[in-house]
């Protein structure tokens, strides 16, 4: 097993945290997220010397998202989406509120089909354009738009209430 090159280690150190958050949104579970991230990086590592170093994060993100979609196709994890979600929290003074918020969002996003989930994460967490999202998912822009539309429709009413937004900017940059 050859050793990691310094630039690969630097990349993992610099971009790992953000990619891990993306993986968490895709999987809804911290252990699966780490597993997914390591899977993607292990796929990329043998090609690292060759990969264009201009935008390695975009390349790894693409591998990450597509690995998740293929995971989902290959193995059923036993998760079943629920029509009714727990009542979202309305108070945020609780120290566990971050955990609760994460659970509610994870549950709602995880209830989406994998492609819709990927579209939501890429467009609204990674801030990719419709065209960039289509390129990552190897589909048309029309598909991205329709998947976005369906995902938003599915999420309506299932995500936390407006109280979260009132102090939402407080945690930006954390």
């Amino acid at each position: 097993m050859r050793d990691a090159t310094p630039d690969f280690e630097e990349f993992v150190a610099a971009c790992g945290p953000k990619l891990l958050r993306t993986a968490w949104l895709l999987t809804g579970d911290p252990h699966q997220a780490e597993d997914l991230l390591q899977t993607a990086l292990a796929k990329v590592w043998p090609k690292w010397d060759w990969i264009s170093i201009e935008r390695p994060e975009a390349y790894v993100r693409k591998v990450l998202v597509n690995s998740h979609v293929s995971w989902w196709r290959r193995r059923w994890t036993g998760e079943l989406p629920h029509g009714e979600l727990p009542e979202p929290p309305v108070q945020r003074a609780d120290p566990f509120e971050d955990v609760v918020l994460s659970q509610v969002v994870a549950t709602a996003v995880r209830a989406l089909p994998p492609r819709q989930r990927a579209v939501v994460v890429l467009r609204f967490f990674e801030d990719l354009s419709v065209e960039e999202t289509a390129e990552v998912l190897r589909c048309t822009t029309g598909t991205v738009k329709s998947q976005t539309h369906r995902a938003l429709a599915a999420l309506r009413g299932k995500l936390p209430v407006r109280e979260l937004m009132l102090d939402g900017g407080r945690r930006d940059g954390n």
Binding site: M1, R2, D3, A4, F8, E9, V12, G16, P17, L20, R21, T22, W24, L25, P30, A33, E34, Q38, T39, L41, A42, K43, W45, P46, K47, D49, W50, I51, S52, D98, L101, S102, V104, V105, A106, V120, V121, F124, F125, D127, T141, K145, S146, T148, H149, L152, L155, R156, G157, K158, L159, V161, R162, L164, M165, G168, G169, R171, D172, N174
Partner: protein, 283 residues
């Protein structure tokens, strides 16, 4: 659901429209909700170990699949004999192949081993001038030819188990054609190409899977081929990395020929790793 849901059900929105308020709110919410998880200290080691495991597994799978592919090809090749009245093509199109036309090619001396047990070790190692970092072994009795196309993406060189025509038999040096006469039964002509398209390079770099059946190209059909296999290997030099495509055009392939194609693919390697000096192409 309550009246305070931020994604309100009745809001008309267009999927392709401008960023709506709800989309902006969703952005903020996802940023808030995605936790900052700690990274395991040995993440790099785990990644490298996974990559090494994957490589080992693929190599093992490649060997197994190569054997399976050979057996499959043998069964398909035998299909007309088993069901001679079948009017429809099998997966390789063997059953539907027209009655063999009289071959115009001169009969080859028994260049290919005959019989299902005749697959032996490969013969000499050669390299082609166009892509000199690649070394490949040639089955005993096969012929080789350095191709003279202007573009190594079109062809680097040819191996065949029957006589190879003069390269000038092809119309020009830009359009690919197979420099053989009509393939005889059990005939094989293998073309090596350099893959340069970045997307395809990314797809095939470090691939170690066996050659797989692909759609018959018109160039292969033109010389009487009825099955085509394609495989990829990566070779490196001190300064670069090259993905090589092996395209095998076959006519009524036998198990032996199919296994020889897989052997040739497996033998593709980088020049630096080869201790004996390779010979130049012959034939």
């Amino acid at each position: 659901m309550t009246g305070t849901d931020f994604l309100e059900p009745d809001r008309p929105d267009g999927p392709g429209g401008a960023d709506t308020g709800e989309e902006q709110e969703l952005r903020i919410l996802l940023q808030q909700a995605a936790p900052h998880l700690p990274a395991p200290e040995d993440r790099i080691q785990r990644i490298l170990a996974r990559a090494a495991r994957t490589r080992r597994r693929r190599r093992a799978a490649g060997l197994g699949a190569g054997l399976t592919g050979g057996l499959l090809a043998a069964v398909l090749a035998a299909a007309p004999a088993i069901a001679p009245s079948s009017p429809h093509a099998g997966p390789l199109g063997v059953a539907a192949a027209p009655a063999p036309a009289p071959s115009t090619a001169a009969p080859s001396p028994s260049s290919a081993p005959e019989g299902p047990d005749a697959v032996g070790p490969l013969g000499v190692a050669i390299s082609f001038r166009t892509v000199s970092e690649m070394v490949v072994n040639v089955p005993k009795g096969w012929l080789t030819q350095e191709n003279d196309w202007a573009n190594p993406e079109v062809s680097i060189g040819t191996l065949a188990n029957q006589p190879i025509a003069d390269p000038t038999a092809c119309a020009d040096k830009e359009t690919f054609c197979l420099p053989v006469g009509r393939l005889r039964s059990g005939g094989a002509v293998l073309t090596f190409r350099l893959v340069k398209d970045p997307t395809r390079v990314a797809e095939y770099v470090e691939t170690s899977t066996p050659a797989e059946v692909t759609t018959l190209t018109k160039e292969c059909a033109a010389v009487g081929g009825d099955a085509e296999l394609i495989g990829h290997r990566t070779v490196t030099s001190t300064t670069s990395l090259s993905v090589i495509e092996l395209d095998a055009c076959l006519r009524e392939p036998t198990t032996v020929v199919t296994q020889q194609v897989q052997q040739v693919l497996e033998s593709i390697r980088s020049f630096e790793r080869q201790s004996p000096t390779p010979e130049g192409p012959t034939g």
